[in-house]
């Protein structure tokens, strides 16, 4: 009885400062994330890979390969953002390690001792990781667009040939850019969810990369057009990256935002699985 009474003041302190407590939880997760030596490297790698791969892909396409520059039908926005599908590897590793790293070192027990509400712990962690990834993603996407803007005119994609310079003032380009950042954020959520469910960095990274990359590789072998289209709609990466399309939208199996919603459904399902397993299992 006495013990309960004595335990009262801290509990009250928690109750009275709910917002304060959340801020502390976020601060704790942010401290854990940024002080792991791999995190800054992975953020730099994500931005650098995205921009470098985008620039390399953009530089490899030239209007001279088309019958005439006007007939290229090249989606220059999508082309300039092509590096996102490579930069996401670093995002996957970053997000998976944010949770599996705690399991690997046993830190998770300390975390849960300090803050026993497990769902809240995981959601806070996911929010901090996602915010970090969104910041890195914004840098990568803006860098890619800047690289595209610099490279494209030299390859014949000039305003005279029907390709105005890439600009965020253009509605579809803005949607593609913002959507690419959101895409990376959803990939991070998916990775955190899978990482929580698998609890092992190797297993989680392989699972997420298989989901993202192997799905489309297998889809190329399916020759039945109906099934092929179904797989394109179901593959998280293929569907999610439809947000980058700015031309020929009518030929896409899904509307851009619907495609991103498919990835969001994967991320949501992974997070739900993660929260349920995290809350019910021993750490």
């Amino acid at each position: 009885m006495n013990a309960t009474t004595e335990a009262e003041p801290p509990a009250a302190a928690i109750g009275c400062g709910r917002g304060h407590n959340l801020r502390r939880a976020v601060h704790a997760e942010w401290t854990k994330l940024r002080t792991v030596p791999s995190t800054p490297w992975l953020v730099v790698a994500a931005v650098a890979f995205t921009v470098a791969a985008s620039a390399a892909l953009t530089a490899s396409v030239d209007t001279s390969l088309c019958p005439s520059p006007l007939e290229c039908h090249e989606d220059t926005t999508k082309l300039s953002l092509g590096g996102v599908q490579f930069g996401q590897v670093a995002i996957v590793v970053l997000a998976v390690l944010a949770i599996t790293g705690e399991y690997g070192t046993g830190m998770i027990q300390t975390t849960l001792a300090a803050r026993p509400h497990r769902a809240a712990v995981l959601l806070t962690k996911a929010a901090v990781v996602t915010a970090t990834v969104l910041a890195a993603g914004t840098l990568g996407v803006l860098g890619s667009l800047a690289a595209g803007r610099a490279i494209l005119p030299g390859n014949g994609f000039t305003a005279a040939n029907g390709y105005p310079p890439l600009s965020l003032a253009d509605g579809p380009t803005l949607r593609a850019a913002a959507g690419s950042v959101l895409y990376l954020g959803l990939v991070a959520l998916l990775s955190v969810g899978v990482g929580t469910a698998v609890r092992d960095s190797a297993g989680a990274i392989v699972t997420v990369l298989t989901l993202l990359y192997v799905f489309p590789v297998i889809a190329t072998f399916v020759t039945d057009p109906q099934w092929h289209e179904r797989l394109e709609k179901l593959a998280p990466m293929t569907a999610g990256l439809m947000i980058q399309a700015t031309r020929g939208l009518e030929r896409l199996p899904l509307r851009p935002w619907a495609g991103l919603a498919v990835l969001a459904a994967y991320a949501g399902a992974a997070m739900l699985l993660g929260v349920v397993l995290f809350a019910t299992r021993d750490a």
Partner: protein
């Protein structure tokens, strides 16, 4: 003193069973591998996922069942047999001679393998036996027979050119000449079951122009019919048994649905000069769908699981400090790595063998039911050499990737990094090859570890006198099954050597 004795004792002990200590090391590593329940589950999952995905992919594949399929040539393979034929019957031995005055493409440039010349053919039935002497715009004079035999005459020959074929029994001999007086023999071909009465005459063909256009994110393969016109003079048919000279008749052979009627061809004769226009080709029609490779698609998931287990097989020892116990027990680190490589490689090989055999066994009948069946497609049997090579080769590729994963784990000592350096070079080329120009895509697919999967190729009858569509992202390697496999072996050897070197050099 005591230390020395102990040392000597240990040394002698180690020396005494030095020979079977490696066997013990392998056994110890095998115990480590099999006693982690998650890894055993993962290996089982690798088999199940591989077979499941292969079967599902096969179920989602259609090949337009019910098509009549190409005509079948004398060798039993599918052939293309479309051309314009000006002919008359010839009974018994004899021959045909003609001077090709000119050969020009209709509407634009002529196809490098457009053909004009003289031919002796069993009948006007597509797929029947033949021997032909021809001139081509890009490859000079050729003697071709029964679709798969191609012999070069003078490679730089241009029109006008004299061509002659003579038949004696079942052998047909081809000659060429620049002036109609001095003849050079190009070669003799055997047509084993040529009937006594055959059709001889002039022919013109011009194959489909294949155009591969690739841009980032989309690639189109287009085949458009071409047509060619040739003029012949001094056309003489000689027969060993003199008889009434038969009248000439002309027709388009094997006019397929693909060729528009306007391109079927025509022939006119005026003052001894024949003007013949034709389209099509007389050539093998190698099938471009590889059913065995198609039934092994699930391997791309199985390999991911195997890489994960192989990486963990060493990085988990580093994480738990187990590696120090391992090295204390067996101080010769290179042998530890070798034992680990043998254990994880052999396990992956067995797992891969089960997975790929089951995949082919289950998925091939589904593909067959979905239209990958004769006459349009040749269906391989499980006992065919190339099929067995594809199955065993797939298992070997999985084993090699496992060893690469192990070596990467030994080099980097952390699982995330090791997995990324193995998986990314495996997957990215397959994803972006379709978007690159053909030459770059071929190079990329052959220079990265993903090249190992070329061992799955079972359709490799490609003829350099037929332009065929060979796209690397479809698993078509112009270099055949072994070169890519060798590339993967080289990567494995380099990774293992680097791992071996670092393991000995660094503190554990």
């Amino acid at each position: 003193m005591a230390t020395t004795t102990a040392d000597r004792h240990v040394d002698r002990h180690a020396g005494w069973d030095g020979r079977d200590s490696f066997g013990r090391l392998v056994l110890a590593e095998w115990t480590k591998l099999r006693s982690v329940p998650r890894w055993a589950m993962a290996m089982l999952a690798a088999v199940v996922l591989t077979v499941l995905v292969s079967v599902l992919t096969a179920s989602g594949s259609g090949y337009g069942a019910g098509g009549p399929g190409p005509p079948i040539g004398p060798d039993g393979g599918g052939v293309t047999d479309e051309f314009y034929f000006v002919h008359q019957p010839l009974t018994g031995d004899g021959g045909v001679t003609a001077k090709v005055l000119s050969q020009t493409g209709v509407e634009g440039e002529s196809h490098e393998w457009a053909k004009a010349g003289v031919i002796i053919k069993e009948s006007t039935e597509p797929g029947s036996q033949y021997a032909a002497m021809m001139i081509t715009p890009g490859h000079g004079v050729r003697l071709q027979s029964n679709f798969t035999t191609d012999r070069a005459g003078s490679e730089a020959a241009t029109t006008p050119r004299w061509l002659r074929l003579t038949r004696s029994g079942t052998s047909v001999t081809g000659y060429e000449s620049a002036d109609g007086a001095n003849w050079t023999q190009v070669g003799t071909v055997e047509l084993p079951s040529l009937p006594r009465r055959v059709e001889v005459g002039l022919f013109v063909a011009s194959p489909f122009a294949i155009k591969v256009e690739r841009q980032f994110g989309s690639g189109t393969v287009g085949a458009s019919p071409t047509s060619s016109t040739a003029r012949f003079s001094d056309v003489v048919v000689t027969a060993a048994q003199p008889g009434q000279p038969a009248p000439w008749s002309d027709q388009a052979i094997g006019g397929s649905d693909r060729v528009p009627e306007s391109l079927l061809g025509s022939a006119t004769q005026a003052g001894g000069v024949f003007t013949v226009t034709g389209s099509g080709d007389i050539a093998p029609n190698p099938q471009d769908v590889d059913g065995v490779r198609q039934s092994l698609t699930g391997v791309s998931i199985g390999v991911m699981v195997i890489i994960a287990v192989a990486v963990l097989f060493i990085t988990s020892e580093y994480r738990r400090g187990m590696i120090r116990t391992t090295f204390a027990a067996s101080p010769r680190r290179g042998r530890v790595l070798a034992a680990k490589a043998i254990v994880v490689g052999a396990t992956s090989f067995v797992v891969g063998l089960v997975a790929s055999f089951a995949s082919v066994l289950l998925a091939l009948p589904i593909l067959r039911a979905n239209g990958l069946a004769p006459p349009a497609f040749q269906v391989p049997s499980l006992s065919d050499g190339p099929v067995l090579r594809a199955i065993a080769g797939t298992a070997a590729v999985l084993a090699l990737f496992a060893v690469v994963g192990l070596a990467a784990g030994a080099i980097l000592r952390r699982s995330p990094g090791a997995i990324i350096v193995v998986v990314v070079p495996l997957l990215i080329p397959q994803l972006i090859a379709g978007a690159l120009p053909l030459a770059a895509a071929r190079w990329l697919m052959l220079a990265t570890p993903a090249a190992g999967f070329s061992i799955q190729q079972t359709v490799e009858q490609r003829y350099d006198f037929v332009s065929s569509i060979c796209l690397p992202e479809d698993g078509c390697f112009t270099t055949g099954p072994w070169v890519g496999f060798g590339v993967l072996c080289a990567y494995t050897a380099v990774a293992l050597a680097a791992g071996f070197w670092l393991l000995r050099r660094r503190d554990a």
